[in-house]
Subunit: 340 residues, 2 copies
């Protein structure tokens, strides 16, 4: 690499003292505007890098925010990241992003790397098999703000941004009941993940509130991606009597399941009414259009980042620091569930 340009090089070029150059670069009021302009032009022409990095070491701030997500190539998570980046870049913070690939072990490594890189704060959506949050303790112990989003610990010791997953699944299930469905199954992810655990609750409560039977067998567990749609369809087709309603926790998976069921001669919604989750583009393009829960990923990212930056701007811990922020989600009814 080429030699790093210092304020001494700039001082040489403009014929001023290094002290004056340093003051000019930090926009000190003691330096005349004309001098500042001269210094800044020289800095630019020499390729000087404002020494954020060394300054960071002194100030103990890197202006880097760490983000750990289960997978980067997820429609939901990429919306969240877009929202986070939008807020962070306005405040001149960088995002350092890593993915746990749904592995608790990789999540631990990611956390350690973020810690050793001295991130100013950390935003986490947890991997499916992460049992405890011990690997995030070094952050809280050092007073580095930590916020969980979407997939959060059971008993969060840190602030969390979520949607009310219990309520969302309750709404989806109740809608199918209103349409006359009486044999509803629930396709859902690993119940170790907070989001799915709560959706199972919502599904159950909706049935219970109508005095309808609920059994654990009504939950069918899946990785919930496009590829698993066919597998789920095959499981459904073997249930006797055939279910008349499905709540599927992911739109891409629901769309692929619908496609396969249709190939097998099942009419949607007449034979089986279906509600998805996320309001992805695919829900508006599959035939019949998919009823779904609008899950505001971009907004969740913006709010999580705003909240983290707020904590960074505060010098001490504010009261109510472990609150949970719950975003509004809503059921969008389309043809895939309209029996009436």
């Amino acid at each position: 690499m080429a030699k790093e340009i210092t304020i001494y090089d700039i001082a040489d070029k403009v014929g001023l003292s290094p002290t004056t150059v340093s003051r000019a670069l930090s926009d000190s009021p003691s330096v005349r505007p004309k001098t500042k302009e001269k210094v800044n032009q020289a800095a630019k022409s020499l390729g000087y890098r404002s020494n954020i990095f060394a300054a960071s070491l002194r100030k103990k701030s890197t202006h880097n925010i760490g983000v750990i997500v289960p997978r980067l190539n997820s429609s939901f998570q990429s919306s969240v990241l877009a929202g986070m980046e939008n807020i962070a870049s306005q405040a001149q913070y960088n995002l350092i992003i890593s993915q746990s690939l749904e592995s608790s072990k990789k999540e631990q490594t990611n956390a350690l790397t973020m810690y050793n890189s001295h991130v100013d704060g950390l935003l986490v959506s947890m991997a499916e098999n992460t049992g405890n949050t011990d690997h995030f303790k070094p952050f809280t112990e050092k007073g580095i703000p930590l916020i969980f989003f979407d997939r959060t610990p059971d008993e969060p010791s840190s602030p969390s941004i979520i949607i009310d997953n219990t309520q969302a699944a309750y709404a989806a299930t109740s809608h199918l009941l209103d349409q006359g469905c009486r044999n509803i199954h629930h396709i859902v992810g690993n119940s170790g993940i907070s989001t799915y655990k709560n959706r199972i609750k919502g599904f159950k409560y909706a049935l219970m509130d109508r005095q309808l039977p609920y059994t654990e067998e009504q939950n069918i567990y899946s990785v919930l991606n496009e590829e698993s749609g066919e597998e789920i369809a095959n499981i459904i087709l073997q249930i006797d009597p055939l279910p008349d309603g499905l709540v599927i926790s992911n739109d891409a998976c629901a769309a692929s399941c619908i496609q396969y069921l249709k190939k097998k001669g099942i009419r949607i919604p007449q034979d089986i009414a279906i509600v998805g989750f996320n309001n992805d583009a695919i829900s508006r393009l599959i035939e019949p259009n998919l009823s779904t829960i609008n899950y505001p990923g971009y907004e969740m990212g913006e709010i999580a980042m705003r909240n983290l930056l707020l904590r960074l701007s505060e010098n001490d811990d504010s009261p109510g620091t472990n609150e949970t922020i719950t975003l509004k989600s809503e059921l969008i009814v389309r043809e895939s569930s309209l029996k009436k």
Copy 2:
């Protein structure tokens, strides 16, 4: 924040000299394994952060790689990022990610931020209105590896990873010609972007090679997202005579366009045969299933990152440093284009 733990604190705790502690932490052979274990345990219990950050300043390496993409919430770009992260994290590098939001001005700001954060290398997919690459010159001048991917400059002064967009559009267009289409239109993005400029060439050459007329009016420019599908459909419906084939440079846009054309009574592929681009999940779920170009985003991310890390591990510039790596793409034929 809590006070930063130093090697002096560890030395106090274990009753050894700071020099021994420092050697133990850096796994020096001059320290006995038992002592190392003792020091490492004390470091862990005190919450010591291995000082990558200060060490980075000395070594002039941050182990951070910058990535600038047009948009984070893009199915293609999130696959690319997932591939990059996979390779980077194995080599213990972090990704610093920012989005230009298709603004050349924001891209310039992003580049400056990355430069001032002392990233070890930079990977860029350019914004649509970026006319020149002057804002990346500080990187090349300082010997910081810079690689463009997908959307690259016209005359790259840095290595580029792309697919052969000319060939891909040529294949899509030739396939429609083979199906008997003779009035084909091309829905494409801003021709200032390398990918689209080359697809326009491919479209044109395919027609010319069959001695068929080509006019600039056959290209219809669009932002190519789900929302623009209806707008494009309306433009197509007003063309007289009605086109019998469309090459649409994005699957989500093509799917939404198909949906709207069907609503208006157009039969796909009988009236209009359609080929998309990217092989997104939506291409496999829309009816009829969409013929498309398989565009290997994850693989592109992996290769771009591997290439960058290779450059970082080399001390001097290797020969052929500005080569272009072209990945294989392929036409996948499905029902949306099969007239015969």
